[in-house]
Symmetry: D2
Subunit: 244 residues, 4 copies
């Protein structure tokens, strides 16, 4: 089997506009994520960002992607509807999609969920502990019972999502909230994974556990088939009486 073709999409605005964030992620968050996947082996990695033509997501790029990761925050509205539609069509045909952190409000995630995807939030650099509810799931292979992130933005319930097919992680926050931090859904022939951590002001994407989860998730979300949608008029398989 060849490498899994991963496209990491990043809004890539914070890193260019905010000096501190730029120092933390000199190659962009997409660069840090790419670095983690490269170390994990088995991936052919492309990156794409908002300000490129077609947001870096030409038909050709999308059609040759097995798994897409999506990070967006301040510019969800600037993502063109036709590109969102292109990505969505590809997910329903079988591409995997991994939505990160503030991507909960991205057009693509909301379009696939059908809900508001709203939540509670707080920026107080508090501690998060992610509990692993599914130690046998491919996404958690190699992880322990939990892992911690010392400083994060908090996301709290109620997270307005459809009941996940599988709830993988639940987070405990120092300030008193909980969150369904790792959730999977099938949509069409594609697999979707939402993963909560990943704020731009913290070095989340350099964390070893985060990188392990993302590499696992890319393998889990790789297409089993790619199948174009159809709504065919079909002949009967059994003899039918005539009806006038």
């Amino acid at each position: 089997m060849g490498n899994i073709k991963v496209t990491i999409w990043n809004e890539y605005r914070h890193e260019k506009k905010n000096e501190q964030i730029g120092k933390l992620y000199p190659k962009g968050m997409h660069g840090a994520i790419a670095e983690g996947l490269e170390k994990a082996k088995g991936f052919s990695i492309t990156t794409a960002t908002l300000d490129e033509p077609e947001h870096g997501l030409s038909q050709k790029v999308v059609d040759s992607t097995d798994v897409m990761l999506w990070w967006g925050h301040t510019a969800h509205k600037e993502v063109k509807d036709e590109i969102v539609e292109r990505v969505k069509k590809r997910v329903l045909e079988g591409m995997g999609l991994i939505v990160l952190h503030s991507g909960h409000f991205s057009k693509i995630f909301r379009a696939l969920m059908g809900t508001n995807c709203s939540l509670k939030w707080r920026e107080a650099a508090e501690k998060e502990r992610l509990w692993n509810l599914e130690p046998s799931h491919p996404i958690t292979q190699g992880l322990g019972e939990y892992f911690e992130l010392p400083h994060v933005e908090m996301y709290g319930e109620r997270f307005d999502i459809p009941t996940p097919d599988k709830l993988i992680f639940v987070s405990w926050f120092q300030g008193g909230e909980v969150f369904r931090s790792g959730c999977t859904w099938d949509r069409g022939h594609g697999r979707v994974f939402y993963f909560r951590p990943g704020h731009e002001t913290f070095p989340i994407f350099y964390d070893d556990n985060i990188r392990l989860v993302l590499a696992n998730a890319c393998r889990w979300a790789a297409p089993r088939i790619i199948k174009v949608d159809a709504c065919p008029n079909t002949k009967p398989l059994e003899p039918l009486p005539e009806h006038k």
Copy 2:
């Protein structure tokens, strides 16, 4: 408890354009559905159709609806996006939505599901037998183990939908196909029921079992709460150490 406020939305084109369909449904399919609900008692019924201003779905109408039924077919694209958004917002706030037959391809159903909602189909006036998989579900109260419709349009699997929260009916078709004909999903605070039967050229909406299911479904889908979406910045509930 007062009556459940039901709004029956119908595209209402077939009945006006096609003489035979017009004879079958002289008051429109919405009229036949309304008649069934009236007999069932407990509902305050409004109807709305595509060619009315705002498709009959003004903010006021939508805001005062507990449960909406949706029948569309040839003119899905003519439904304005802003009206779809208005209905979707209300579903996520708690309104019930019952999507009928060819409404599987309506903008509102696809927006709530996040998938293509495609299927196989055939117009051969064949027999359908709907098996009741959940005799304890509120939607099937009063039904037997199955019921039959002598002449229907066939819909066959694979139906491209997210895994239903509850699969209520599975259909057997004379021509050899099967279909998940009754499915429920929660979306936001609202309940969604897709119900397969209801083709414009057959007297489906005069059928007693169909009317029983629709009345049951309207009761089941009535709002438990109405809650406006929010994504609040919240204060910690536990003391947090200072972080510089």
Copy 3:
């Protein structure tokens, strides 16, 4: 509609053996639960305990119960298999079952789940905050976004249960854990609700929020139908060719 017939089953050993617990629950935990339901109105309440003949669960009692609550801890093994089988049969026929706290290890809960139902635990009188994930669910009507219990035994993930049909509450614990504290499953024609709080050394069953949840849950779990199991040999509904 008449009252919902509730049978509260309690092991009733701690209260008799331990003086402090006896003072906290002079009428047993079942007595405190019964008191809460009586205030809520609409219930006809019976109690039953381990040391009664047939554990207080004669065929007649079980057959006339709409919803059973179950509290057990130290004596799960003393519950006779035939009584467990009797209760399970009735759940599958349509009776509601509400399993409380340490009842996670009861024979009846494990038999209905098919899993170990194990978890992490700690007795340190810490704070618990239960987050309400489903404000539109009948079980949470009248509750706010969360409620707190000042001193509880901790239960932590991974809770070895099948994926719940609906996850209602997730708990935050002061000591750093999380837990799926309110879960629902359908089994046969009956509804099952597991509710985490309820330790014998704390006044949990006098708490107003707990009592609200239990009354709501009893209403939600009341039978929609009662249907005896069968596995019938059935005649074909369509003509079949002869086969030699």
Copy 4:
């Protein structure tokens, strides 16, 4: 990666008692299933039958099994409870289990489901068409949209099972029924697949599509981890105030 260790368990009574069945399956149904898996490659296959000591399922055999297949019919009651418990424990620790046809009433399947697992049935050698609802699922790789079996025993809904995690196949029967013929559930760390076809009087286990499904299912159900159950008393991860 080494071979997947498969143990095929068969009641193995029909084949010995009934001459015609014995001719159809001279090596037992387990032999025919084994033959199919051998052709598929990648499996180390063991068989075990009811009348062997410990039903062929010694602790050693069970502990070295990755995936178990289970066919039983007339002698479910003769399977010892302690062996059922041994197999169940292993499933919850991570072993895969594939339950075939009349195994729906086996002790092991009912213990893992928590329900009656009853259904309708008829022996009329009618046609079955299995519709593939999940073409992207590992279990259906290589299959088309449907496949047919010319002569089968019919199983019809309502099948008394918990809502499947994933519904893979729905069957159409010539006599007018439908059935959820391929269903998956996670239980503990193990995966369970129920697959309907497989009657003793028909050459089902020689069918190429059946063999493809069984080989796929064995790969899908292979353990990701093996983890012994525990219910540990755990220390807090965060400082707790003292409570007297």
